[in-house]
C-alpha cells in the first residue's frame, strides 16, 4: 500500500514537473501570438480554478466571480488614472478591494440556498456592470479605460508577461492546494456535505464559508489586476454573464472538484477557442453542449477522471469511503475560536 502510494505520488510530481518544464520552455519556440493566447489562457485557468475552490470545495456556486475580477481590474485602473498609483501597488489594492467585497458578499449569502445564491450573485454582478457602464464619465465605460502596462512602456516583448502570468497562476494554485489540503479544506468539505453535522461538531461554518469567499475573490481580483495591466484597456464587457458562463464551463468540464483539472480545463478550452476560430459561433455551441453533457453524465468533469487514471489519485470526492463529515467527527476539531 505504502509503496503504491509513494509511486503514484512520485508519478504525480514527475508529470507535473514535465508540464511545468514545457510551460517554461514555450517562449523559446512559440510566436508572440501564441504567447498572448497562453497568457490569456493562464488568466482563465486562474479564474476557473479559484471558482472551483469556491464551488467544488466549499459548495458555493456563486455567479459573482467575474465581478470580483472586474473589481480588481477597475480598482487598479482607476487608481492609476486618477491618482497615478503604479501597477504593482494598484494590483495590491485591487486584490484587497476584491477581498473586501468578497467579505461583504460572503457574509450576506451565508444562509442562501443554491438558487438564491446564484440569483443574488447574478444581481450583484449585473448591478456592478451597470454602474461601470453608467458612470462612464469616471470609468470611460465602453470607450475603455486605459491602463499602464505592468512593465512600463519600453518593454514590448510578451515573454516577461508570459512568465509573470504563469508565476501568478502557480503561486495561487499552490496557495489553493495548501488551503484545500489543510484542515480548512477538510472543514469546507464537511460543511459542504452536511452543514448541520459539521456545525454540531464545532466547525465554525460562518468563518470558513466567508473565508473561502474572501480568498477566492481575492484571487479573482488579483487575476483581474494582472489582466488589466497586460491588456492595457478594459471595458465592462469583461464581466458580462456569458463570460461567467465560460469560466463555469471551464471549471465543470475540467472537473469542479479538482483545482488542477479546473485550471487545465481553463487552459485547454481557451486554447481550443483560439484554434477553432474559423468555426465562429459554433465553438461556443460545442462548449455549451459539452457543459450540459458533462453535468449530466460526468459530474467529475472530463479532465479530472483522466488525471485520476493516469496518476492514481484518490477516488472521486462524492464516494469517499469515509466522508469528510465523518472524518471531522473523528478528529477533535473544536475550533480555535
Amino acid at each position: 500500500m505504502k509503496a503504491k502510494d509513494n509511486f503514484s505520488l512520485s508519478l504525480q510530481w514527475i508529470l507535473g514537473g514535465i508540464l511545468l518544464v514545457i510551460a517554461l520552455l514555450v517562449p523559446l519556440f512559440a510566436q508572440t501570438y501564441w504567447l498572448h493566447v497562453l497568457i490569456i489562457a493562464y488568466f482563465y485557468a486562474l479564474l476557473a480554478s479559484s471558482w472551483s475552490l469556491l464551488a467544488g470545495y466549499a459548495g458555493q456556486f456563486s455567479f459573482g466571480h467575474m465581478a470580483f475580477m472586474a473589481i480588481g481590474a477597475y480598482t487598479t485602473g482607476l487608481l492609476g488614472r486618477y491618482f497615478g498609483i503604479g501597477p504593482f501597488l494598484g494590483i495590491i489594492f485591487g486584490t484587497l478591494m476584491a477581498g473586501l467585497m468578497g467579505l461583504a458578499i460572503g457574509a450576506l449569502v451565508l444562509r442562501f440556498k443554491a438558487s438564491y445564491l446564484a440569483l443574488f450573485t447574478i444581481a450583484f454582478s449585473e448591478i456592478l456592470r451597470m454602474i461601470l457602464n453608467g458612470e462612464s464619465d469616471i470609468t470611460r465605460g465602453d470607450q475603455g479605460l486605459s491602463i499602464v502596462p505592468l512593465l512600463g512602456e519600453e518593454i514590448i516583448s510578451r515573454v516577461p508577461y508570459y512568465y509573470i502570468m504563469l508565476a501568478v497562476l502557480l503561486v495561487c494554485m499552490v496557495l489553493m492546494y495548501w488551503l484545500a489540503n489543510s484542515r480548512v479544506g477538510l472543514f469546507l468539505r464537511a460543511i459542504r456535505e452536511d452543514e448541520e453535522a459539521a456545525a454540531a461538531r464545532g466547525v465554525n461554518v460562518v468563518r470558513y464559508k466567508v473565508l473561502t469567499f474572501v480568498v477566492t475573490s481575492m484571487i479573482a481580483g488579483l487575476a483581474g489586476g494582472f489582466f488589466a495591466h497586460y491588456i492595457t484597456l478594459i471595458t465592462p464587457n469583461i464581466m458580462i454573464i456569458p463570460q461567467m458562463g465560460l469560466v463555469i464551463a471551464m471549471a465543470i468540464v475540467g472537473g469542479v472538484e479538482s483545482l488542477f483539472a479546473a485550471a487545465m480545463g481553463g487552459i485547454i478550452i481557451q486554447v481550443s477557442l483560439e484554434v477553432l476560430r474559423e468555426f465562429g459561433a459554433w465553438r461556443l455551441v460545442i462548449f455549451g453542449a459539452l457543459l450540459i453533457i458533462t453535468l449530466r453524465f460526468a459530474r467529475d468533469g472530463l479532465i479530472a477522471p483522466i488525471m485520476q487514471k493516469v496518476m492514481g489519485t484518490a477516488p472521486k470526492a462524492e464516494l469517499r469511503t469515509q466522508t469528510d463529515a465523518q472524518k471531522v467527527a473523528k478528529e477533535d476539531v473544536l475550533d480555535e475560536s
Binding site: 440556498k113 443574488f120 444581481a123 453608467g134 454573464i241 461556443l284 455551441v285 453542449a289
Partner: protein, 297 residues
C-alpha cells in the same frame, strides 16, 4: 402630471406581459423546485419561431403563429425536462440543487450560442398584429404592444382558471405543496413536473412571440427578460402565482418610473433594469419570501 400618468400606464401595460413570462418561471419553481436560468432563451426562441412561421407561411394569422411557437417551444422544454431534469427527481443526480442551477444555466449558454450560430446576428421582426397606435387618453401606445398586453391578460386569466378550477391545476397545486402526499393520492409527480416545465417555458415563448413585433428579435434578446423574471418571482414570492402577477406589474412600474424620474435624466435609461435588480437584492436580503411566498421548505 401627464408625464407621470403616461409613465405609469406604460409600466402597467408592460408589467402584464412581464407577469406572463414570470408566471411560467414561478410555475416551474413551484412544481419542480428549480429556477430555470434558461427562461430568457425560451422567450427568445418563441420570438424566432413566430418569425420563421410567419415568413414561411405568409398567409398565417399572427395569433396562430404565436400559439404555434408556444407549442413548439413547449415540446422542446418537454424533451429537456425528460432527459436532464427528471433524473434529478429520480434520485440519480448528486447534489440536485446545484445541479439544477448549473444545468439550466448551461442550457441558457448553449441555446444563446446555438441561436447565434443558426440564425445569425442580424435583427429581424415578424409582421405586426395590427399597425399603428392607439390613444388611451393618458398615453399613446402602439397597437402591437397593447395587443400583447391584452392577450397576456387573457392568458393570465385562463391560467388562473386552470390552476384553480381544473383537475390538472389542482394536481399541480398538490404537487407544489407536498410531493409525497400528492403521490399517495395517485398523482404522478414526475408527470406533473413535465407538464409544469413545458407549460412554463411555453408561457415564456408566448411572451417572446407577443413582444417580437415591438422589440425585434436577436439571439441575446432573452438576457434582460430572464433577469427581470427572476426579480419578479422573488419579489412576488417564489412559487406564488398571484405573486408573479403583482410582481410583474410592480416591476413594470418601477422600470418605467425609475427611468423617467432618475435624477440625471440623460442617464436614466442606462440604469433602467438596475432598479429592479436593486429591489431584488434587497428583497433577497431582507424578505426572501417576497410578498406571497411560502417560508423556505
Amino acid at each position: 402630471m401627464d408625464y407621470l400618468l403616461a409613465l405609469a400606464a406604460t409600466g402597467v401595460i408592460m408589467g402584464i406581459i412581464y407577469a406572463l413570462m414570470a408566471m411560467g418561471l414561478t410555475l416551474i419553481f413551484s412544481i419542480l423546485n428549480v429556477i430555470n436560468f434558461a427562461h430568457g432563451e425560451f422567450y427568445m426562441l418563441g420570438g424566432y419561431f413566430s418569425y420563421f412561421l410567419l415568413t414561411l407561411f405568409t398567409g398565417l394569422n399572427p395569433f396562430v403563429a404565436v400559439f404555434l411557437s408556444g407549442l413548439l417551444v413547449s415540446v422542446i422544454g418537454l424533451i429537456f425536462e425528460f432527459f436532464f431534469l427528471r433524473p434529478m427527481h429520480l434520485g440519480r443526480i448528486e447534489r440536485p440543487p446545484e445541479y439544477a442551477v448549473l444545468i439550466t444555466f448551461g442550457l441558457s449558454f448553449f441555446l444563446q450560442n446555438l441561436a447565434l450560430a443558426v440564425f445569425g446576428p442580424y435583427p429581424h421582426r415578424p409582421t405586426s398584429f395590427f399597425s399603428g397606435a392607439v390613444d388611451l387618453g393618458v398615453v399613446r401606445v402602439s397597437t402591437d404592444r397593447l395587443t400583447a398586453s391584452v392577450l397576456s391578460l387573457i392568458l393570465l386569466g385562463l391560467l388562473l382558471l386552470l390552476i384553480n378550477k381544473t383537475w390538472i391545476g389542482k394536481a399541480l397545486q398538490a404537487v407544489s405543496q407536498n410531493k409525497d402526499a400528492a403521490a399517495v393520492v395517485g398523482i404522478n409527480p414526475l408527470r406533473m413536473n413535465t407538464i409544469a416545465f413545458s407549460l412554463g417555458v411555453g408561457l415564456a415563448a408566448i411572451a417572446g412571440a407577443l413582444l417580437a413585433p415591438s422589440f425585434s428579435i436577436m439571439p441575446d434578446v432573452g438576457a434582460v427578460p430572464s433577469i427581470r423574471s427572476y426579480v419578479i418571482i422573488v419579489l412576488g414570492g417564489m412559487g406564488s402565482i398571484p405573486g408573479s402577477i403583482l410582481g410583474g406589474v410592480l416591476i413594470g412600474l418601477v422600470e418605467s418610473l425609475g427611468a423617467g424620474y432618475f435624477p440625471d435624466p440623460s442617464r436614466g435609461l442606462t440604469y433602467k433594469t438596475s432598479f429592479g435588480l436593486i429591489i431584488f437584492a434587497l428583497v433577497l436580503l431582507f424578505r426572501p419570501r417576497g410578498f406571497f411566498g411560502r417560508k423556505e421548505r
